[in-house]
Symmetry: none
Subunit: 413 residues, 2 copies
Amino acid sequence: MEAALITIGEELLIGQVIDTNSAWLGQRLNELGIKVMKRVSVPDNPDLIAQAYNLCMSNYDIIISTGGLGPTSDDNTKEMLCKLYDSKLIEDRETVEHIKRFFADRGLGLSEVNRRQGWVPDKATIMHNELGTAPGLYFHEGKTHVFALPGVPFEMKNLFENKVTTHLKMYLAKGTIIHETMTVSGIGESFLSDKIKEWEENIPDDISLAYLPSPGLIRLRLSMSTSNEESGRTQLRTLFLELRPQVEEFYMSDRDERAHETLFRTLKELNKTVSTAESCTGGTLASLITSIPGSSNIFKGSVVAYENSIKQNVLKVNATDLENHGAVSREVVEQMATNVRKLMNTDYAIATSGIAGPDGGTDEKPVGFTWIAIAWEGGVQAKLFKFGKLREVNIARSCVHGIHMLIKQIRNS
Amino acid sequence: MEAALITIGEELLIGQVIDTNSAWLGQRLNELGIKVMKRVSVPDNPDLIAQAYNLCMSNYDIIISTGGLGPTSDDNTKEMLCKLYDSKLIEDRETVEHIKRFFADRGLGLSEVNRRQGWVPDKATIMHNELGTAPGLYFHEGKTHVFALPGVPFEMKNLFENKVTTHLKMYLAKGTIIHETMTVSGIGESFLSDKIKEWEENIPDDISLAYLPSPGLIRLRLSMSTSNEESGRTQLRTLFLELRPQVEEFYMSDRDERAHETLFRTLKELNKTVSTAESCTGGTLASLITSIPGSSNIFKGSVVAYENSIKQNVLKVNATDLENHGAVSREVVEQMATNVRKLMNTDYAIATSGIAGPDGGTDEKPVGFTWIAIAWEGGVQAKLFKFGKLREVNIARSCVHGIHMLIKQIRNS
C-alpha cells in the first residue's frame, strides 16, 4: 500500500515551524510496511487543501493529514472534508461530553468555540482524542483510507498509535518491514564506513543498511521485508553479532535507543545510580535522563555549575585549581565528578566542562574544547574532546560522550 | 509572486531526515515577499519528480527544488529537467575545472562519476557551487522561474543567498510580507480565541492572524503584504497595542521568541541573574536557558533535586516539611526557590516540584499536579498548576509557567 501525507498550516510554509509531524509519520508508516510516496504541505486555504486531497486521493490508498482541525477560524479542514465526502456536520455527543470533561478537569467551562469541536462530518468514523479537544476523523470509501489528525504533535502521535494503526492493520498485507539497530559513538560516519566496508559488502541483497548519524552517535540500521518476522530478526541480529568485534571500542547499544536511554537501561539492570555536575552542558544531561519515565530509580540529581562560584561553593572544587588551570581543565572536571558523586551519594557521576561557543574561546582553549569526567567508587577518569564550533552540537556531543565513557567503564568493570 | 518548494529524496519520506531545507527556504522566501503556497516531497523517481514539477509549474511562478543532483545513480533530477525543457546535457568546462580542483584540494583524483557532475542541461543557467560539486541550475521561460539546488543544507543555503536571490530580485515587485508576533502564556487556544473575538473581528481584511500554540505558550502572529514596511509594521503593532490590555494577565512578549528567550532578554536588560531548583523539570529549565549563547551573563546555576535527599541535603529543605507535606507541596517548593537563590547568590530563582507522570500520581496529587515557585530579594510566591497526563508536555509547561511567573513579578515590581 502506498501513502501520501498532507500537512496543513501556513506556519509550515513560511518556515516558522519545522514539519516534524510528517517525518515521524513517514517513519512509523515505513515500519508498518507502507511506502510514503508523497508529502505535501499547504496553507489553511480550503481550495488548496481540497486540491491536495483530490490529487493524493486519485493516486494513493492512504492519505493522512495533520492540522487544520483546531477551533480557531483559520482551521478549515473539516468543512472541506464535508464537501469532499458529501457529508454534513453533526454534533457527536460523546465528543462533546469528552470536551466538557476535558475543560472541567482543568476547572474551566465549555465555550461556544470549543463546543464546535464536537461537530463532525456525519460520514466520518470518529477517533477520540484523549489528549486534546479536536477528534481525529477517518473516512473509508472504496480502497481509499483518509485520516485527518490534529496538528499538535503529541495528540497526533497518540491518535496514530492507538487508532490509525488499528484501522490500517485490518487492510495491510502480511509482510512487514523489520529493522534491527546498533548504535556506536566516538567515530565519524565516513571513518566507520571505511572500517566496516568488508562486512557491509557481504550483506545479502534483500537487506539494506542505513547510517543514521546524530551528534555523537551513529545508528546503524538493517532493514528487510519479510513474511517471517522471527527468522528475519535472527538473520539481522546475526549480521550485527559478526560486526560487533570490529566496532567494540565504539559500541553503545544493540537497540534503537538514544544514549541516555542506554544509560538508563544499563543502570536499572544493575540497580545503580548516577548524578551529574554540569558546566558546558548546562543541565541538558540531567534533562535528557529525566525525560525518561522512571528515571528517579537511577538518577538522584545534578548540580549545574555554570558560574565558577558554584563550582567552588556547591561542588567544593579547589579554588587554587580553578585559578591555576581554569574551569575547563582535567583538574576541575575530575573534582566536579568526584565531589558530586559524594554530595549526591550515587554509584556513578558524570561531569562536563567545556567551551560551548560561540564566544569564550581562546587560542589555547578554542570553542569546542571540552573536558568530560566520570567517577565511580574509588576512581575517576577524565578525557579531553575537541568538538566543533556549533554550541547546540557541542552540548549534544558532550552528553553522548560522557554517557559513552560511563557505559564503557561499567561494562569493563 | 507565488512559489512552490519541491524537496527530493526518499529519506525525507520515510522520516530518516527531517526536512529543514524547505523550512529554511520558506522563511527566506517569505522575507523576500514571496508567498510559498505549496511544499511537496517526492522520492528519487523520475516520473514522480516530473509530476511534481509539472503540477507546480502550471500553478506557480517560482519553483525551487532541492536534492536529486548528486552523482549517484539514484539522482535523477537533471535528466528530468532536460526532458521538461527540451534540453540536452553538455559538459560545462568551468564546472569540470571546479570539480577537479575540489577533489585535488582534498588530495583526491577525479572519478568518472564525479566528472558527470560537470554535465549540465544546455538551456540552464549554471549557478556555481563553491562548497560542493553539484552546480545549481536555473531555468527561466515565460513567467516561470525554476531553480534546482543540491540537497546538502549548507550548499543549498549558500547558493540561495548568493545566486538565487540575485536572479529573483530582478523580477520581484516591491512588496514584502511582514509579521509581528505576540506571545501569551497561561490560557488555552480556544479561551483566548473567545476572549479576543471582538478584536479579531476588527482586523482589516488585508491582515491575517494565526494562532501558533506550543506547550504553555501561544504565539499570535499578524501578517500582511505591503510595499511600505515601516507603515505596515506600525499598523500591526498598533493592533497588538489595542489587544494588550485584554490579555495583560497572560502577556509574555511582543517578539517572536520562546519563553526562555524572553527571560534571557528581560534579565540581561536589567543586569539581573537567576538560578533554578528543579525537581519535576529535571534540569530542563537550566538546559533551555543555557541553550542561549551568552546565558552565563544571567544564569549562575541549578540544583536538580530529583531525589528527596538532595532537596534536604543540598537545598536545605526542612525535613519535617518534606515528611508532612510531601515533596510536591507549597512548603517545599517555596523553600527550594528561596534556598537556591541564597545558595547561588542570584537576584531571582525559579523552583519546580510536580508529578510529571506517567507514574507517581495519587488521588490527592494526580499526574500533572505541579507546584512552581519564584523567589526574589525579600519575597517568594508559589502557585499550583494542574497539568495533563503527558510527561514531556508537563515538563515543558512547567518551564514556561515558571518563567512566566517570574517575568510578571519582574514587570510588576
